[in-house]
Symmetry: C2
Subunit: 340 residues, 2 copies
DNA sequence: CTGAAAGCGCTTACAG
DNA sequence: CTGAAAGCGCTTACAG
């Protein structure tokens, strides 16, 4: 490969002139510029990223930590990755994807070795082990998901409390008095998936305030277990007229379950989920849902991260915790409870 | 961050001694090694990846080109990414993920700038525009998907011809005489998805040899269009007793379609698909399927790529085109055609 | 067994 | 407007 020295020689100028001609960081005579450009074109010159990183302390790479946990619903993760990756590319950054099961080690490796200018953490837990590593790192970090302690990082998440309240009140207004909430598996919650209880507690409070019975159950994140869980929940609470789903796998499995039980929404059962429009389309889900906005959250996280990387915001500027408000996309799966 | 110079100073040795102590590339006295190790621990030293890359011409990063095309079924792509990423990490490499719509530009950027030691291309088309770029690059490349011209790259793919033949003969042996094959959308094929016609032509030849009627149709890759396409195909060919699916979206949509038509497999219709066990589980698909082996293909591609990167194989060694043989996973969705 | 030094390919003050 | 040179943080022949 051609180096900047080759270009300089061919153009008959110094290496610094080539560098400045390419970066535009100082004025260059038209003649010099033309000769540099011709030489660059002739040699097919592209600066060596490693050398540039060494000289500038900037890699133009963002680390993306996405753990594919055995017990989580992988397709839901994909949209966050796409949102982050697309936005990063738009802003001139490449993505170093770390999917190791032990995210802490991967995070330490890419920050310590200066492979990245900043980091986006997906799927953040209440007491996420990666956060101490991130705080100790010299690079800034942005999270998708709300941890217990937000110091030193920018945080973006769906407002799960508002989501829980909103879903419950939507069904309450339609006249439902007994509802089932299907959450994520218990181990997701135990591992620190705070959004599970944030949504549930908010829904429970709203239910209590309105005198509504809310049966909170947890469901598996995989087939076929989640199907069994749904049947069990419906068997256990025959009086329930509405279903709230905070579990993507449950949403994907519900159509078969309802077919099997001869139920139609909203005729026999009102259903409202929490997943993205993209997800609804992929899985052909006919239920109204609160948009989880994965692409938007990924985009917000990267934008803020790049502002920090490029010094537009400094560590002295306050770190943000930004919630996306729930928006209910109506797909006609909720209505008045069946008479009687 | 601490540099190698800081470590050397603290340990009271030269920088080369630190480097050699860490790499093990030359003998070191026990005393020196102990002092270096202590200094490394005290300073929390990790070599700077950019500096090392500059000195060694090795980045320990593999580029992964995965385009998320608007008209493709994204969840199917995820498993290839996981296979590639996990294998790369196991072998000591990180992954630079490029998802730009214009893959050619991204590929040129990461190879020209030497950000990567090698490249894996996913979703390779018959006449893939990225291949000329890859062949011109100094880094080796491995493909998942068979292009028209395999020169200069290692290629891994499911044996789609054998798959088509196998699926057809499986149903033929059970006594079926009229079958429908649902392929990918036409534009996937036009864009160069050779696997579509490779499977179809092989199935058609096998059908002809056995005097079986095979209706080849194409189906959308999204909901709800694919549901309509399936209904239309079943309406158009009421005599068909078996369905062959070479379209993930069709497989995901078929349970609803069959419910709507009151059909059960294999009682009314025998069904065989082509997708991974992981996919079957995620979407709760009850159909027997030929395993598409995304994790295995990703793993094979990375293994071979790393062999080339590390010089275990050179450009003089022949490039391989390796097909994974189809294996039918029986989920009980095929049987004898309904009597009459 | 060890150190001083060259070199990887850039960027950017410094001097003119 | 331009060039010579220092420096980024490593690795690795070279010399002892």
């Amino acid at each position: 490969m051609a180096t900047i020295g080759d270009v300089a020689r061919l153009a008959g100028v110094s290496r610094s002139t080539v560098s400045y001609a390419l970066s535009g960081k100082r004025a260059i005579s038209d003649q010099a510029r033309a000769r540099v450009e011709a030489a660059v074109a002739e040699l097919g010159y592209t600066p060596n990223a490693g050398a540039r990183a060494l000289a500038t302390s900037q890699t133009m790479v963002i680390g993306l930590l996405a753990e594919f946990l055995e017990d989580e619903f992988a397709p839901a993760m994909l949209q966050y990755i796409q949102g982050v990756s697309n936005t990063a590319h738009e802003l001139g950054y490449d993505i170093l994807l770390v999917t190791e099961a032990e995210g802490t080690r991967g995070l330490k490796r890419i920050t310590d070795s200066r492979m990245v200018d900043g980091v986006v953490l997906l799927n953040v837990a209440e007491d996420d082990g990666r956060l101490p590593v991130l705080r100790a790192a010299p690079q800034p970090g942005a999270l998708v998901g709300l941890p217990g302690d937000c110091t030193g990082v920018d945080v973006f998440d769906l407002d799960f409390e508002e989501t829980g309240r909103h879903m419950l009140e939507h069904l309450a207004r339609l006249g439902h008095r007994e509802l089932i909430l299907v959450s994520q598996p218990e181990h997701v919650e135990l591992r620190g998936g705070a959004y599970v209880w944030r949504l549930r507690n908010a829904a429970a409070r709203a239910a209590q305030a309105r005198g509504i019975t809310l049966h909170a159950v947890s469901g598996a994140s995989r087939q076929p277990d989640i199907g069994r869980d749904l049947h069990a929940a419906l068997d256990a609470h025959p009086g329930a007229t509405g279903l709230i789903l905070n579990n993507e796998a449950a949403a994907a499995a519900l159509p078969s379950v309802m077919h099997e039980r001869g139920l139609a929404a909203p005729r026999d059962l009102s259903v409202v989920g929490r997943y993205s429009a993209e997800f609804a389309s992929t899985f052909s889900l006919p239920y109204s849902s609160v948009e989880s906005a994965p692409d938007r959250l990924g985009r917000m996280a990267v934008r803020q991260l790049v502002r920090r990387i490029e010094g537009e915001i400094t560590p002295d500027d306050p770190y943000v915790v930004r919630f996306v408000s729930p928006e209910l996309v109506d797909r006609g799966s909720t209505g008045a409870p069946p008479a009687g």
